[in-house]
Amino acid sequence: MGRASRLAGRGGGGVIGGRVTLLVDPDALARLAAGRRSVLISGTNGKTTTTRLLAAALATAGPTATNSGGANLPYGLVAALSSAPPGGLAALEVDEAYLGQVAEAVRPEVVCLLNLSRDQLDRINEVRMLAGRWRQVLEGASGEAAAGGPVVVANADDPMVVWAASGAARVVWVGAGLSWRLDATGCPRCEGRIQFTDTAWSCGDCGFARPDADVSVDEIALTDRSGRRHPFTLSLPGQCNRSNAAMAAAAASLLGGDEARALTAMEPVADVTGRYGVVRVGGVPARMLLSKNPAGWMEIFDFLRPAPAPVVVAINSRIADGRDPSWLWDVPFERLADRQVVATGERCRDMAVRLRYAEVDHVMVEDAVAAVAEAHRLGDRSASVDVVANYTAFQGLRRLAVDA
């Protein structure tokens, strides 16, 4: 039920086809993936964007299957693979709880692990448990396969990801950053305490520590495994997306591509299933941003239009969002001071109370279209309004929007 509903919000008709295919042929995913060179991308945040960037890079080398719409459960993957010609390449986003099942069927060449943090705690109870399951999957895969299983491209800055990836026979470490650290303070190896500095981390008890990065990225360039720097400028905003691009470039190079060419192909990507794009909502230009957990919000603060530009925050709590929006209290909304926030969505009251205690000026407008209009009225009417929404609130607004 949960899976179906989650999925229902995510895919188009192709996904329904994927469900039917899986009912008729439970091995459809393995069959469709056979003979392809596949990359799986998983993590709490950045899956869809990284998959989109990687698909853009791989497409320069040949036909590439991808679930670009974000339908990341097995049926969504079946739908994506069925609609592409056999053979070729695949860039596939996978829900973090389904990585084992999907990896077993798809037998990917590369697995990208981005980050792990609190999200949908009513569904996924423990971040640490998930990291342990990933690790088992990778240990199992590297033990069985003659070639040693998939190469893992992993974020060296996230202790949970490093713990999981260390189960693999071969890892390419990427210094992709970690903006939210409160889910990684307990050592996944010994339950000691992880200490962070600006550039490294280690456990004070057992010595588990950040591996040296093979690939790193800064405001200007990506530094590849041989130390060469590749300057690049993305159309997508924020350092988090530069990190996503670095992960994608590392994966592309493992399939035989070249980082510079991969990055060039990623630069023009400006819209990821409606995210980051400017649309019109009720006639008002709105830049649509998705953020569904504290880690995601830490990244949003990075590229939100500066105060006093008003911002709309839309919060729902359906199954795909997580039923419990108490994570709003983990987000430092105090950073929205000196501007008006328009709280909307089915849980706008939770947001209004959070903003009251953050002492941030706000109004509550339950109807999302009216909320965008209100933010437009409150701000500089010549500019587009930033709208930050969690999953189903985002989908709802996108359905009401028209292209700008």
Binding site: R118, L121, D122, N125, E126, V127, R128, S179, R181, L182, T185, G186, E191, R193, I194, Q195, F196, W201, P294, M298, R323, D324, S326, W327, L328, W329, D330, V331, P332, E334, R349, D350, A352, V353, R354, R356, Y357, A358, E359, M364
Partner: protein, 271 residues
């Protein structure tokens, strides 16, 4: 500590401190802060500040001793390993027990609530020693994990309106003779020990399974805790919290009025 650094509080609040400031201590937010429960400390501090009372909000990270001079202590929910570590650190020197003996109030939620009892379970069901500040015992649940909205009628004498929160816990808690329940479950599971109770109260120590955070949805509970420390409080404008409460209470009770599983659900939670 720079914002965003390891263990830094996610809500950068600096509140002025006078000589007689009320000290609100959030205990181990880096371990017991999984479900937004750190908000409880912020809420308590703001409600004093808005009334012109000096307050200091202290985020007591793990790894260093918890200050014993606090007036109110808040503990939140957390994962199994984090709960174990917090319990071990708090057992060392028992700063919470000493503070309670000196008249401090405590609000403990979920994993933090369990830790205050005599015993609580690890993820694999092993028994661990708690701090013994509440006469409760928690064991590992065997059925489905209680996850969902929780509505509670507070115990008489607390003078509180109906309470609303969101529960998500694996342990089941039974009260000993030295603890009374925070309230009786109207919807949801609560303690889950079979008596229909939710939470526990002993003196100024309150334990509950309600996240939300609980004080965001129940400002009267926040003021009950604060008034136990500073005495009578002026009223505040809680219209936004009232609107949230009304919406949450309606979201739970109205579907149940028509739901065919309502009575069986009530019987199991009250048996």
């Amino acid at each position: 500590m720079p914002e965003g650094a390891a263990g830094a509080a996610p809500w950068p609040v600096s509140l002025r401190r006078g000589d007689s400031a009320v000290r609100v201590v959030v205990v181990h937010p880096d371990l017991l802060g999984t479900y937004g429960d750190g908000g409880n400390g912020l809420i308590l501090a703001r409600r004093l500040q808005w009334r012109g009372l000096p307050v200091e909000l202290i985020q007591a990270m793990s790894g260093s001793p918890v200050p014993g001079s606090g007036d109110v202590y808040c503990l939140g929910g957390g994962e199994d390993a984090a709960q174990h570590r917090a319990a071990a650190e708090l057992a060392d020197g028992n700063p919470l027990g000493q503070a309670v003996d000196n008249g401090a109030a405590v609000l403990a939620v979920c994993a933090g609530f369990q830790v205050l009892g005599h015993r609580y379970p690890s993820a694999d069901g092993q028994e661990r020693d708690g701090l013994g500040l509440l006469d409760i015992d928690t064991r590992k649940g065997t059925g489905r994990r209680p996850v969902g909205e929780l509505v509670v009628t507070p115990s008489p004498g607390l003078g509180l309106p109906q309470l609303t929160g969101y529960e998500n816990h694996g342990g089941l808690t039974t009260l000993g003779p030295g603890a009374r329940p925070l309230g009786r479950v109207d919807a949801g599971i609560g303690n889950g020990g079979g008596d229909g109770s939710e939470g526990a109260v002993v003196g100024r120590v309150i334990g509950t399974y309600m996240h939300g955070p609980v004080l965001a949805r129940n400002p009267a509970l926040a003021d009950l805790i604060l008034s136990s420390v500073v005495g009578k409080l002026d009223p505040l404008d809680d219209s936004e919290a009232d609107s949230l409460r009304a919406e949450r209470l309606q979201a739970v009770t109205i579907p149940r009025r028509n739901g065919r599983w309502r009575w069986t659900d009530r019987l199991t939670s009250r048996r």
